[in-house]
């Protein structure tokens, strides 16, 4: 019997400090470095997309500020490896937006503000939509992840 264990988002590895001995600390440090190396290309792409959206927002009435960009990056870094990176844009109120397009006109979008408030909406069919708010915490919010997976199927 085999089971699939999805790669845990790297942020949780960075945040949890449970090593209690020198050897344990060394192992944890090496684990973090390996994970960081594995995710480096993905993080670079995400950072580049966010920077481009921030730059474009400078012409708007409410440009995206650095704190919002950092929070957006933190959310993107929590995405499971199996989820493609979003298309990044900005909202008229200065929040950052992550958008995913799926088959049959499905669409999922989440807006992030500097305090970590996540406002999301998903369109699956004409008679099937969801929307709500979450708070950025340690992992990617489960409710949003479910909606996101439904969008991409």
């Amino acid at each position: 019997m085999t089971a699939y264990c999805e790669m845990a988002p790297p942020v949780s590895a960075f945040e949890r400090k449970v090593a209690v001995s020198d050897i344990a600390e060394m192992i944890q440090r090496q684990l973090n470095e390996s994970i960081e190396h594995y995710f480096a290309p993905r993080f670079e792409t995400l950072r580049s997309e966010i920077d481009a959206a921030v730059e474009e927002s400078r012409a708007s009435a409410a440009p995206v500020d650095e704190a919002t960009a950092q929070t957006a990056f933190a959310l993107g870094a929590r995405l499971p490896r199996s989820i493609p990176l979003p298309e990044v844009s900005f909202d008229p109120d200065g929040e950052m937006s992550f958008d995913w397009f799926g088959p049959s006109k499905k669409l999922f979008s989440v807006s992030i503000n500097r305090s970590g408030r996540l406002s999301y909406a998903g369109w699956f069919r004409e008679d099937s939509r969801v929307h709500g708010t979450e708070k950025l915490d340690h992992g990617f919010p489960e409710e949003m992840l479910r909606a996101l997976r439904r969008t991409l199927r």
Binding site: A52, A53, E56, A59, S60, A61, A62, E87, V88, S89, F90, D91, P92, D93, E95, S97, D99, F101, K105, L107, S109, S111, S119, Y120, A121, G122, W123, R129, H131, G132, T133
Partner: protein, 150 residues
């Protein structure tokens, strides 16, 4: 005599209609477009409009649009250039989202004429205050729109 009556009826009908020179209450428009001024507000890869293109600004709580019935492509972009010149940072539209006004009652939005910048200019009003509810409406409008890239 019957022939004369027919001619008279035709002439009476012809001169009773007001000339259609500008939008008025008598003229029924149905096609709207939302001009898009940022590249990141539409997806070239997926050929789709993004929700950010339809979200209202914080201060105005309304979204600018224009009636495009009966206009050529060039005329439609021309209106976009006029409206774009009035922005805080003047710009030309990069794309637009064309949609039918019949979708608006489904999301509780109303059309308010605003002919000051252009006779065909309108504001879409009635947006909820909550951001997630705004995004929900924006997504319905996205999926009801046809993206036209300039």
């Amino acid at each position: 005599m019957a022939f004369l009556k027919k001619c008279f009826a035709l002439f009476a009908e012809r001169f009773a209609k007001p000339p259609a020179t500008s939008p008025s209450a008598e003229i029924e428009y149905s096609l709207l477009c939302r001009y898009i001024f940022q590249n990141s507000h539409f997806s070239k890869i997926n050929n789709r409009v993004k929700p950010g293109a339809f979200l209202p600004s914080t201060h105005e709580q309304s979204v600018s649009a224009a009636w495009i019935d009966g206009l050529s492509n060039q005329e439609i972009w021309g209106i976009g250039d006029i409206l774009g010149a009035l922005r805080r940072v003047p710009a030309s539209p990069r794309a637009r989202a064309d949609f039918n006004s019949e979708v608006l009652p489904n999301v509780s939005l109303t059309i308010e004429p605003d002919p000051k910048p252009h006779p065909r200019h309108v504001n879409l009003s009635g947006w909820p205050v909550e951001k997630d509810a705004q995004k929900d409406i924006a997504q319905v409008l996205c999926n009801s729109s046809a993206l036209q890239v300039r």
